[in-house]
């Protein structure tokens, strides 16, 4: 046994490390939480890391998981050692190939970070719904319970599959294991090499397709032989468990780490036993060990190889003394008699009992736990054992929730804890990207890599992309840490943002006499009075040692700028007691030297100074005997919020969603619109302030605001009679509006401080350089007056849509946005387009939204931004999947057309009763302009009122579809990952359908939501994940593809380059009665730009000719005009003058300078050639475009 290298890694890296080393081909596609495995593989390939065969595996990103599975299948069938990584919906897309791969007895391992499946809602978090969906494919299922085990099982699975010829799915819990950082023994290349039998590898190769010894595989079979052929594989499955156990035994000889197919822990005479898989096993094991100390007769069977289910090995593992067995599944099979593992256990035990191998049959119950990473704690385990001790335990149960509908849930004592005394647990509350998580990962490495120390880290993020809270759960101890659940009692709590005290119960998990560190702008003397009363009470009641540091001022004084991570990390080292203080400080300084020495001695010394000054400015607060605070936590939502928001949404917002009972949640995933309005997040310290005297009322700021924070209204001046004194207004600058005032109201509590509004404001002060009509100011001093102003602003009437000029940016500001206050990144480049769609068409809009950023900021609970107007109308929104959004949206159109036709048909039947003229007018009235639509709404309202008076079946029928007589606006929204890659086929199909759907592609040129992986929209020369060496192929031009159909409206827009053209294109697309495609340049945080420059970059993209603004309007062909309009002037800057403002291009200059230059030259050529094509097209006559593809009207 060779000495192992100790490393601190997360589960994804641990698994990818092994998979990369054994395989020759990895076909990949990003999906949370497995993406990092593929990213690691790509990273190592780019760095030239070899596998154990002495070469670099081929890493191939595909267009979908379906594509990845196809490529895997192909590579396997031609004899390469091949793997893939996936989760959830991705695994479902692989199913067809998995049946084939297994049916052909092909050795491979798919590594899966197990994740929930989208059902009533999508979830990125962990359970076994995906894994259990593959049970019938013929893949073996091998589960891992920890980071170390996932590392080891990745190798065991690979060795076993080569020997058994049965393909393996190796799974571990998404996030809980994939993202947990822990200390492991790393397998050496020699150990990995020793586990892989060369004969098996050669045999695998030999089975591959080859023209030198040809055969065919993949025949079509008939009733005569299919069945028998299906049964031929049985011996392979029968042999597999023994092969896995032998492989585990060989592994033990090589590494010293022993594993069994089923591993029992507990009393030899246990009466109550839990059977369970994956990470929760560790929780049960630790609880069992604790209960054994208390004399309980309990045990746990840890299932590693779930399929093929080795019945004999299971029976060997389960003590005969067991009287009651609870089988726990982390998934749900609605309508079934139980979940999968339960079925296998029941089958095994009942067969053993019936054929006499077992003398008795224990009571067997089945429980569900931990869906979507729901916490599974020792307290819950204790609750289950308690239940098993009852005379009649519940036959089917849930644990960890309160099921007051079906009464499945078990009660348990949440106070039960087994956190050992020799472990120091710590909780840190930080703001996303404030360095807290990074510093904690660093701390784990520093401490975890000391001999005799172990460390674990797990990080919880909230549901918003801007201003999000992070909670770091860290444990340190002298024994390996097996605690795959959140910290229950912390000896150290660090709150890195003072205002969190007013949002979250930071001290709920504080153990008695623990340490509380607060990053506070207030001194030790002053801070107490500033604390909310509940915090004071908790500090006193729990006898906490309370320390404060003003990290910002220490950072400023030591030249660290805004970086407070080292300072707060130093506080932890100094106060936590994990290491003696002197040693701790020495360690942190050593780590600083290691990290920063490349940056020069000066930076090292600056960081040392920060450490020393931290210690000098870290003060203990003298805690009074009694709480005296008058500051209270503000209510989560205001009292006027609807009941559902009060009772459900607010609880989720407060971090108490776990306590909601089943009965409180909608049965079918339907939630009310417009809940972000109730969540005042106050995430930015700086917000815009309006100067009415300078403002030219152009509407630019409101147009570009990603969070709909800037609202404009005009109103009669008399409305100001009741206005608050500080309410701002100006005479409206448009002609024809006498006695009319204009107000631009900033919803400062919803602002993310992105600065885009200031950037686009053209109105400058003539008295003070740099002052505009809108400027960023500190939020706090503005709060009181502006809240009062907002309240008054909301009493002003919403501007009549019939009086607003829809055709100008200036006019559009008065249209009420029905998409507001989303959780998108500060400065998001996508949301301004979505907001504009909601302003223009919101009250008759249905949105099909592909999975991605827009479905997350658009639909992630607790609060969602799609809202409704005062009439109760607004966008109806839904997300189906990532891959099917075009088809999903087309379905909306099919219904709309069908029900409109039905309404027309039924309406005609009412001609005798309601008048032929009335009906005819309703059915033929034009609905192009807002006024026409308003008139039609009035007609439909009148119709409905009349129908209500007619008590007949046909009247009720017509009533059910009458709303369809007002034209619906159907929009299919998604990102480039959807439109260019995974949904490309569907999108192409619906564009060819001739149906009236509007497609808005928010093109960030990268998979933004999963963290910046390359798509086919990624430009030549840009760096992305999976294109670390720079993308070498130019972006696909789907505009030209769509134009080639002739009857598709196509526009390429960039709000920052020409907002007016964007507005025009959206309106033309919507008015066009066939399919429309709009490609919208969406700057993104994944471009590596300061986000306030986003619109400027859009302008430069267009100015360079890289993003030419175009409109192809088939309507123009009717008058034989050229339907293709090039809205951009000729390129006036070089491509590099746009590109090199962005890190995605600049990065390659640093990593591969020669290649960067080469790709930049190519990219410039592509820009020029494309421009020439467009310019040429712009000179054509209408007859150049598909004479046979005339506009199709679908009515």
């Amino acid at each position: 046994m060779s000495e192992s290298q100790i490393v601190t890694v997360d589960g994804n890296e641990a698994v990818a490390y092994v998979a990369y080393r054994i395989n020759e081909v990895c076909a990949i596609y990003p999906i949370t939480p497995s993406s990092a495995m593929a990213e690691w593989a790509d990273q190592w390939a780019t760095e030239g890391v070899n596998n154990i065969w002495g070469n670099i595996p081929a890493i191939m990103e595909m267009q979908s998981e379906g594509g990845a599975a196809g490529a895997v299948h192909g590579a396997l069938q031609t004899g390469a050692l091949t793997t893939t990584f996936t989760a959830s919906q991705g695994l479902l897309l692989m199913l067809p190939n998995m049946y084939k791969i297994a049916g052909e007895l092909t050795a491979t391992v798919f590594h899966v970070a197990a994740r929930s499946l989208a059902a009533q809602g999508l979830s990125i978090f962990g359970d076994h719904g995906d894994v259990m969906a593959v049970r019938d494919t013929g893949f073996a299922l091998l589960g891992s319970s920890s980071v170390q085990e996932a590392h080891d099982m990745a190798l065991i699975a690979q060795a076993a599959t080569l020997a058994a010829r049965v393909p393996f799915l190796h799974f571990f819990d998404g996030f809980r294991t994939s993202h947990e950082v822990n200390k492991i023994e790393l397998l050496s290349d020699a150990q990995i090499r020793a586990m892989i039998d060369n004969d098996n590898v050669r045999a695998h190769r030999e089975r591959g397709l080859s023209p030198d010894h040809p055969f065919i595989r993949g025949t079509a079979q008939n009733p005569d032989v299919y069945f028998q052929a299906r049964e031929t594989v049985n011996p392979f499955y029968e042999r597999t468990p023994a092969i896995v156990q032998q492989t585990m035994d060989s592994f033990a000889e090589i590494t010293g780490r022993h594993y069994r197919l089923f591993e029992y822990t507990g009393a030899q005479d246990a009466e109550k036993v839990i059977v369970i898989m994956a990470s929760a096993t560790e929780t049960v094991k630790q609880t069992v060990l604790a209960l054994l100390q208390q004399g309980e007769k309990v045990g746990v069977v840890h299932v590693r190889l779930y399929l093929p289910f080795a019945q004999a090995a299971f029976l060997d593992a389960l003590p005969a003394s067991a009287r009651a067995v609870a089988v726990l599944d982390r998934c749900k099979s609605p309508g079934a008699t139980g979940e999968p593992l339960l079925h296998d256990v029941v089958m095994t035990l009942s067969e053993a009992f019936s054929d006499g191998r077992r003398g008795s049959l224990p009571k067997i119950t089945g429980g569900r736990y931990g869906l979507s990473s729901k916490e599974f704690t020792p307290a819950m385990v204790k609750g289950i054992f308690d239940e098993l001790g009852r005379v009649r335990p519940k036959q089917r149960f849930t644990i960890g929730i309160q099921d007051d509908v079906s009464n499945t849930s078990l009660a348990y004592d949440p106070g039960f804890s087994i956190e050992p005394d020799n472990v120091i647990a710590a909780l840190f509350y930080g703001l996303g990207a404030d360095g807290t998580v990074g510093a904690n990962k660093n701390t784990i490495k520093i401490i975890g890599e000391l001999p005799g120390f172990y460390a674990q880290g797990y990080f919880v993020y909230d549901s918003k992309k801007s201003g999000s809270q992070t909670v770091s759960h860290l444990r340190f101890g002298s024994e390996p840490i097996h605690a795959p659940y959140l910290v229950q009692k912390a000896q150290f709590i660090g709150c890195h943002q003072f205002n969190f005290l007013f949002k979250t119960d930071i001290l709920a998990q504080a153990a008695k006499a623990s340490v509380f560190l607060l990053n506070s702008p207030y001194s030790a003397d002053e801070v107490w009075a500033r604390l909310p009363r509940y915090v004071q009470e908790r500090i006193i009641e729990k006898r906490l040692s309370f320390y404060v540091i003003d990290a910002a001022s220490v950072a400023r004084d030591t030249g660290m700028g805004g970086r407070v991570n080292t300072i707060l990390q130093t506080c932890f080292f100094a106060l936590s007691g994990v290491l003696p203080k002197a040693q701790a400080i020495a360690k942190i300084k050593a780590a600083i030297k290691k990290t920063y020495s490349k940056k020069g001695e000066e930076i090292v010394l600056k960081n040392y100074a920060a450490v020393d000054q931290t210690l000098a400015h870290l003060y203990q607060v003298k805690v009074p005997l009694q709480a005296s605070g008058t500051v209270t936590m503000p209510p989560i939502v205001p009292a006027q919020a609807p009941a559902f928001v009060q009772e459900v949404t607010a609880r989720m917002m407060a971090g108490q969603g776990d306590e909601l009972a089943v009965s409180q949640l909608p049965v079918d995933g339907t939630y009310p619109s417009g809940t972000t309005a109730w969540e005042k997040r106050n995430v930015s310290e700086f917000v815009p302030e309006w100067k009415p005297e300078l403002c030219i009322q152009c509407g630019n700021c409101s147009y570009v605001c990603p969070h709909s924070v800037i609202r404009a209204r005009f109103y009669h001046q008399s409305a100001l009679d009741t206005a608050p004194a500080a309410f701002k207004s100006a005479p409206i600058s448009a002609r024809g509006f006498p006695e009319t005032r204009y107000t631009l109201q900033i919803y400062l509590e919803d602002c993310t401080g992105c600065n885009l509004c200031v950037t686009v404001c053209p109105a400058l002060s003539l008295k003070q350089s740099g002052v505009k009509a809108i400027n960023m100011k500190a939020r706090e001093p503005l709060m009181a007056t502006e809240k009062e102003n907002i309240a008054f602003f909301e009493t002003l009437p919403v501007n009549d849509r019939a009086r607003v000029d829809f055709s100008s940016v200036r006019g559009a500001q008065f249209l009420e946005p029905l998409f507001e206050f989303s959780g998108a990144c500060a400065g998001c480049g996508e949301t301004p387009y979505i907001k504009l769609v909601s302003q223009l068409f919101g009250d008759r809009l249905i949105v099909a939204n592909a999975t991605g950023c827009s479905s997350i900021y658009g639909g992630n609970l607790p609060t969602t931004p799609w809202t409704k107007n005062q009439q109760g109308r607004g966008p109806a929104w839904s997300n189906s999947l990532f891959e099917d959004n075009a088809e999903f949206g087309l379905g909306f159109r099919l219904t709309a057309d069908k029900h409109r036709a039905l309404a027309m048909q039924l309406a005609r039947e009412f001609e005798p009763e309601l008048g032929a003229d009335f009906i005819a007018q309703m059915l033929t009235a034009p609905q192009k302009t807002e006024v026409q639509i308003l008139r039609q709404r009035e007609r439909v309202a009148e119709l409905k009122a009349l129908l209500l008076q007619l008590d007949s079946e046909s009247a009720r029928d017509l009533l059910s579809v009458a709303d369809h007589l007002v034209r619906r606006s159907i929009w299919l929204i998604g990102g480039d990952g959807w439109a260019y890659d995974i949904g490309s086929g569907g999108l192409d199909h619906i564009l060819a359908s001739g149906r009236d759907v509007n497609v808005l592609v928010l093109d960030t040129e990268v998979y933004s939501n999963t963290g910046g992986q390359m798509s086919k929209a990624t430009p030549l020369g840009a760096v992305a994940k999976f294109a670390a060496g720079g993308k070498s192929v130019a972006k696909k031009d789907i505009a030209l593809q769509a134009i080639s159909y002739g009857n598709v409206y196509v526009a390429r827009v960039a709000m920052g380059a020409n907002p007016q053209q964007t507005l025009l294109a959206l309106r033309e697309a919507e008015a066009y009665p066939g399919p429309s495609l709009i490609l919208a340049y969406s700057h993104c945080i994944a471009h590596g730009i300061p986000m306030q420059n986003g619109l400027k970059q859009q302008d430069l993209a267009s100015a360079s000719g890289y993003w030419p603004l175009i409109r192809y309007n088939p309507m123009l062909r009717q008058s034989d005009k050229n339907p293709f309009v090039l809205d951009s002037p000729r390129p006036r800057i070089a491509f590099k003058d746009y590109a090199y403002n962005e890190l995605r291009y600049k990065m390659l200059q640093r990593t591969h300078p020669d290649e960067a230059g080469h790709l930049m030259d190519l990219a410039q050529q592509v820009v020029k050639q494309k421009w020439d094509v467009y310019e040429h097209m712009a000179t054509w006559t209408g007859s150049h475009f598909h004479p046979d593809a005339a506009v199709t009207f679908t009515e």
């Binding site: 993020y461 910046g1012 890190l1143």
Partner: protein, 336 residues
């Protein structure tokens, strides 16, 4: 015609040096300058501050938005975070020295003592024949005394001279109360050459945006007056080489600088405007001017009109000053 000249102890085939500009950012650009006849090339400047800021921006942009949302904990492939140093610059110097037969002069703009010393050493190690220090300091703190400002220059010169053995020139701004004395003291402190003058940062205002516009403009022939004066004044009175910089548009300015006493003449703006090949025209015109007046070498020309050689040195500055005013007035009168 013998155009050979000496600058910083280096032998030059002619006195026209391509000074720091984007033209020397690539090896092909450097070769083109040589082929067009440059006597030597001052590389584009290595800006310590720029390197530092780029590294900071790089780190900032790499970290933006990370560790905030569970699905996207980062947005870029992880790369070696080691800050980028001047490797590319040094690499280019090495290649330029190998690929050309003319002196290659490194140009450095530091902001810290470490930066000045480390980068100077590295430029020498990369093979540069000499080093030009481009000290770019605007004493906007009005409490700062002139002596303190001057001391910075001496400190930097000493630090660099102590760490390298190649010749060192300083490119100066004209904004010293006693520029002559300043040059004299730098000379005494061991500087090998002074370049008069740099085109000091002088921001413009953008009247549309009412903002400060930091963009530099290209120089024009009117700008030669100040360097011309001081070269004429300093010629023959210091050991260090004198390089003239600013305002060269044609051979006329080259000749004027040489007559004032410049050892070499730096050109950049005109090459930016007309291309590196314009060097050929400058040299041909220079040669023609000399030939037409029967000069056989530059030695005969250099310093002819300097203060040192003027018949009445005491009246030199005053007379010139009055002449300038008169000519300026007459221009106004013509326009009026």
């Amino acid at each position: 015609m013998d155009l050979s000249s000496h600058y910083l102890g280096l032998e030059l085939k002619n006195p026209i040096i391509a000074s720091a500009s984007p033209l020397s950012e690539t090896l092909s650009g450097i070769k083109l300058l040589e082929d067009s006849g440059a006597g030597a090339i001052v590389m584009f400047s290595l800006f310590e501050e720029q390197i530092r800021r780029e590294n900071e921006a790089f780190d900032f942009l790499l970290d933006s938005g990370t560790e905030s949302f569970a699905e996207s904990l980062s947005y870029f492939p992880s790369i070696d975070r080691a800050p980028k140093g001047p490797e590319q610059y040094l690499n280019l110097i090495g290649k330029a020295v190998a690929a050309t037969d003319i002196p290659i002069i490194g140009s450095l703009n530091g902001i810290t003592n470490t930066g000045w010393i480390d980068y100077a050493k590295q430029i020498q190690e990369a093979g540069a024949h000499a080093l030009e220090l481009n000290i770019y300091f605007i004493p906007t703190a009005i409490e700062m005394l002139a002596t303190e400002v001057e001391q910075r220059y001496f400190d930097i010169l000493k630090a660099v001279k102590d760490s390298v053995s190649i010749p060192v020139a300083i490119k100066l701004s004209p904004f010293f109360s006693a520029i002559g004395n300043m040059v004299k003291r730098l000379d005494e402190a061991g500087v090998d050459g002074v370049v008069l003058f740099n085109r000091f940062y002088q921001p413009d205002f953008d009247l549309n945006l009412l903002q400060v516009d930091p963009h530099a403009s290209l120089s024009s022939p009117e700008e030669i007056r100040l360097p011309l004066l001081w070269i004429a004044v300093l010629y023959g009175r210091i050991k260090a080489s004198l390089a003239a910089s600013r305002g060269v548009d044609s051979a006329t300015e080259v000749v004027k600088y040489l007559l004032a006493g410049a050892d070499v003449v730096m050109v950049a703006s005109v090459l930016m405007k007309k291309g590196p090949q314009h060097l050929k025209i400058l040299l041909a015109d220079l040669e023609q001017w000399l030939t037409a007046r029967d000069y056989s070498s530059l030695t005969e020309v250099r310093g002819v009109m300097s203060r040192h050689n003027a018949a009445n040195p005491g009246a030199y500055e005053r007379v010139n000053y009055i002449k300038v005013l008169e000519s300026f007035d007459s221009t106004l009168a013509e326009r009026g």
